[in-house]
């Protein structure tokens, strides 16, 4: 007989169980599939995430003694991961085939990383969170170094691993303080303990600081971002797109839950910490991106800057803030992966050598549709209406003004005006300059579909944001 308690526990972890079963099935499919059919692993992966998205129970469920939660918040973040997985998979097939790297593993490892991410966001307990984090992170290390014969990719993998392990260590060290002083690892218990004892104790402050630094590493907030540009640049292009979106979304999801549930009583301290980080991250990310000649590196710094905007939502400490971050992440997922997909389609000399921005020169003549899609992605990332990116930014600033943090909102908008320039540079090359290299473009069905979906979403969500807005409009943690 299944007790109601057990039933409740199982239904709470049901999406993750489903994902694990599917992940194992993917391994089998990979074995069965012939060498030429490895792309099918990816397609099955897409089908599986879609299936899970449909089969997920509506929450909220709290199980395992308050350690795990499945609610709308987890679900929306799962949708972000699923979107990232789908678009990355579609966008990567041709690229990987070209580089002779098309193996089933890549999609399987990516699939496993999704499970880790789901645990991170659904965790209501630091143990669960940590297990999820490592599942995600180890998969990511593998993916970063996936191009075995490329030195840069190897470097990316090792660097990511070292920095990841280092930040995990810091995080765990901080965690040990919190555990020692509050006596619990469950978010709600930590909150209760903080409420009771107050958060003034030096040990708790120190522990929290270390944990938040660990988080800051994961969301690549300045000054804990130094791994990000190298890792994103070195990784295979479609994977880099995935890494700028999904792990960051997971870290943000987990961070929101942790800060809002577990350490809400100490909000004065951590909002200050993240306010400083938000300003640094936006400004530094944008300023450095201005100077980049390598497109991937530029987008890496832009990814850092975007984390800064999202941090504005975090420090508002209002439900609008959470919703704004979630919406932003949702929109960011397809526009950024769209941009990376276009980059991975280009393969002229400049792109192969060092991914120089000049490789885009003259693209609008050679392939006007792809250029138009890239233009949309760039202006959307810059936050120009009526494209989706603007809706995301608008919500962030609404949250900031509602919370009356005007100066941070002003820093944010000035930054987004500044950022516009480097996104425009790509369009300058595409539209205004003559081609420097013989433009070669692999435009096959899967990558075309990925670009098309992302471009259509960028426009559609810009004009009719209601659907996405409603998705996040009642989110709380």
């Amino acid at each position: 007989m299944m007790t109601p308690q057990l039933f409740n526990d199982i239904i709470t972890v049901y999406p993750e169980i489903l994902m694990t079963i599917f992940a194992l099935t993917l391994i089998v499919i990979d074995v069965v599939a012939g060498d030429k059919m490895k792309a099918s692993v990816g397609y099955f992966g897409i089908a599986f995430v879609a299936l899970v998205a449909l089969l997920c129970p509506a929450g909220p469920f709290i199980g395992f003694n308050n350690m795990l939660i499945w609610d709308n918040f987890s679900y929306v973040f799962f949708l972000i991961f699923a979107m990232a997985y789908t678009l990355t998979t579609l966008g990567s097939i041709e690229y990987l085939k070209d580089k002779n790297m098309l193996k089933g593993e890549i999609y399987i490892v990516m699939f496993f990383s999704l499970i880790g991410m789901m645990f991170m966001v659904s965790a209501n307990d630091l143990t669960i969170f940590y297990v999820g984090l490592e599942t995600m992170a180890i998969s990511m290390y593998v993916l970063a170094g996936f191009n075995k014969h490329c030195l840069k990719s190897n470097e990316a993998g090792v660097k990511y691993f070292l920095m990841g392990a280092f930040s995990s260590g810091i995080f765990l060290y901080g965690l040990s303080f919190i555990y020692g002083l509050t006596g619990s690892l469950t978010y709600t218990d930590i909150a209760a303990a903080l409420q009771g004892h107050g958060s003034d104790s030096l040990g708790i402050k120190f522990g929290l600081l270390l944990m938040l630094v660990g988080f800051a590493f994961k969301i690549s907030a300045v000054p804990f971002h130094m791994w990000a540009p190298d890792v994103y640049t070195g990784s295979p292009t479609p994977i880099a797109g995935f890494m700028t979106v999904a792990p960051k979304a997971a870290a943000f999801g987990a961070l929101i839950r942790f800060t809002w549930v577990a350490i809400a009583p100490a909000s004065e301290q951590w909002t200050l910490f993240f306010t400083i980080l938000a300003v640094l991250t936006m400004t530094y990310g944008n300023l450095v991106a201005l100077a980049q000649e390598n497109v991937k590196r530029m987008l890496a710094y832009s990814a850092i800057a975007h984390a800064g905007y999202m941090l504005i939502g975090l420090v508002t400490m209002t439900p609008e803030g959470i919703r704004a971050i979630t919406l932003y992440m949702l929109i960011y997922s397809f526009m950024n992966i769209g941009a990376f997909t276009v980059i991975s389609m280009l393969k002229n000399k400049g792109m192969i050598d060092d991914e120089r921005i000049e490789s885009f020169a003259g693209l609008s003549k050679k392939n006007p549709l792809v250029a138009l899609a890239m233009l949309l992605f760039m202006f959307s990332l810059a936050g120009i209406p009526p494209l989706a990116g603007f809706v995301g930014k608008f919500y962030i600033f609404i949250a900031a003004i509602k919370a009356e943090i005007y100066w941070l909102a002003i820093v944010g908008v000035l930054n987004s005006a500044l950022a516009c320039y480097y996104y425009m540079r790509v369009t300058i090359f595409m539209y205004f300059k003559e081609p420097e290299y013989e433009t070669e473009l692999t435009l096959k069905a899967p990558s075309f579909i990925a670009t098309f979906i992302a471009a259509v979403l960028v426009v559609l969500v810009g004009f009719f944001p209601s659907f996405f807005v409603n998705l996040v409009s009642s989110l709380t943690v």
Binding site: S364, K365, P368, L375, F379, I384, P385, P386, F390, F394, F397, I398, I401, K402, Y406, A409, I410, V413, L414, S416, A417, C420, Y421, M424, T427, I428, Y431, F432, K433, P465, S466, V469, N470, S473
Partner: protein
């Protein structure tokens, strides 16, 4: 059809662009299809003009629908006496700009005309939107096509000009976005209803504190001043004008600059009346500087297009001076001058474009005496030169006269200095005319071709309107009497209530 004429006006060009994009191929076909579409769009504004009720200041042809209900964002459009002339100007100039580009645009014609159509949707949308979010979307959405028009089809330094234009406008408007959000919350706090409805937010203007109004005013003012452009944020304008292709310059001067002054009328004055009143002298000083400075700089230009660009700075100074006189004459003069400037400067850019296509130079010193070989051009150019100076009998005279009357009532000192701008205008325009068309004939231009039929066709409507406004301005000013009266009352009742 009349009940949703405004939506048709906004979206017809966009739909046309989409249909052309999907179903038509080839540059020439797109060109003609775009021309037909813009003509239809212009014809659609005629029933709007004729069935417009001139006896009320209320918004007409209003359409309202929920768009993003979670935030109180609506699709809300309407037209009143302030915006209707701008709609007329926009649709007219776009059609003319298309006709004016037939031979000028040689490369990538298809994209050019599609960009123009998308741009038209944005421009019409800006003047009709009555929801802040909608307004902001249109306001910014215009940037992308205009950026491409300057950047792809422009002159030598086009990239620099395009980027500068984009960044300047964007920098101004991001703060405006924050101001809009702040108004959204302020209105919600006062009434309990959270909405971006411009009319509703305006209706509560009396209740906004003076400090709040000042902040909002400054944020709006910066955004609009860049667009006008007012001294000292005008530096993007000469670059953009000189580098843009003819159609780009016409639309830039004719329509885009008007959005800044339209913003003053629609937002700054009624929403922040107290701040507007206290900033009156400040804006007047900036306007006077723009009038005199723009004229002086125009005088020393060696490039015809740049000269006209700087003259825009000077002329737009009159508009802002009139608007910030905040009285019936001043504001009416300002609006009429917006209209006139669009027509006259648009025509001047078209004429310069036409002659540039033949000579491939815009340097004043390289011309000389061409009146002999192109008499028709010389005549028409002379008419618009006189129009620009403000010769009685032509549109600009009425506009500037009203502005000066209004300004004299509000601040007589500045009005006196501003009036000198009219003299400067005569100096730089006539001097330019003399150097380009008279003096001894440069041998290079002996067999220059005179204007052809197409060029005469597109200049004709502008010619008619210039004299029409000059001789019987009531046709145009009658649209705005009620709206302007209402606006002035609104500002003063609210502004006085504050004190």
């Amino acid at each position: 059809m009349m009940e949703n004429i405004l939506s048709i006006l906004i979206f017809f060009p966009l739909v046309a662009a989409f249909v052309i994009f999907l179903f038509l191929r080839g540059g020439k076909t797109t060109m003609w299809a775009t021309f037909i579409a813009t003509i239809i769009e212009f014809i659609l504004t005629i029933p709007l003009m004729t069935s417009f009720d001139k006896t009320t200041a209320a918004m007409q042809f209003v359409e309202k629908a929920d768009w993003i209900p979670a935030l109180g964002i609506q699709y809300y459009v309407g037209v009143d006496g302030i915006s209707i002339l701008m709609i007329f100007l926009t649709t007219l100039l776009t059609a003319i700009a298309v006709l004016g580009s037939f031979t000028y645009i040689q490369k990538r014609q298809r994209e050019f005309y599609l960009a123009l159509l998308v741009l038209e949707t944005g421009m019409v949308g800006v003047f009709l939107a009555l929801d802040f979010f909608l307004f902001y979307i249109f306001w910014e959405a215009m940037l992308i096509p205009m950026y491409l028009i300057i950047g792809v089809w422009g002159g030598k330094r086009r990239i620099y000009a395009a980027v500068k234009f984009f960044l300047y406008t964007l920098a101004g408007s991001v703060l405006m976005m924050l101001a809009i959000i702040a108004l959204f919350f302020k209105h919600g706090e006062i009434t309990g209803i959270y909405t971006f409805d411009i009319m509703a937010i305006t209706a509560q203007a009396v209740k906004y504190t003076a400090g709040f109004q000042t902040v909002i005013f400054l944020a709006f003012f910066l955004g609009f001043a860049i667009k006008v452009p007012m001294f000292p944020v005008h530096t993007w304008l000469p670059d953009a004008h000189v580098e843009a292709p003819t159609a780009g310059s016409v639309i830039l001067a004719g329509v885009l600059l008007k959005m800044g002054t339209y913003g003053f009328l629609r937002f700054c004055l009624p929403i922040t009346p107290a701040a507007s009143i206290s900033f009156m002298p400040f804006v007047a000083i900036l306007s006077v500087i723009a009038i005199v400075y723009g004229a002086l700089v125009a005088m020393v230009q060696s490039d015809v297009k740049k000269l006209v660009a700087y003259s825009s700075v000077s002329h737009m100074g009159f508009v802002t001076l009139g608007i910030y006189a905040i009285n019936q004459a001043g504001i009416e003069g300002g609006i009429l001058q917006m209209f006139n400037h669009g027509i006259i400067t648009g025509a001047l850019f078209l004429l310069i474009g036409a002659i540039y296509e033949r000579t491939h130079t815009r340097e004043i010193s390289e011309y000389g005496g061409i009146a002999a070989s192109v008499p028709m051009f010389a005549t028409i150019f002379l008419i618009f030169t006189m129009g620009s100076i403000g010769l009685p009998g032509m549109g600009a005279f009425i506009g500037e006269f009203l502005v000066l009357v209004g300004a004299f009532e509000a601040f007589s000192d500045y009005a006196i200095i501003a009036a000198s701008g009219v003299i400067f205008a005569a100096v730089y325009m006539l001097w330019m005319y003399q150097r380009v068309l008279y003096e001894s004939l440069n041998k290079r231009w002996e067999d220059l071709k005179d204007m052809n039929l197409r060029e005469i066709i597109y200049i004709m409507p502008l010619l008619i309107i210039v004299f029409w406004v000059g001789i019987y301005p009531e046709t145009f000013t009658s649209y705005m009497h009620e709206s302007v009266k209402h606006l002035v009352e609104q500002v003063f009742t609210a502004g006085v209530a504050m004190k």
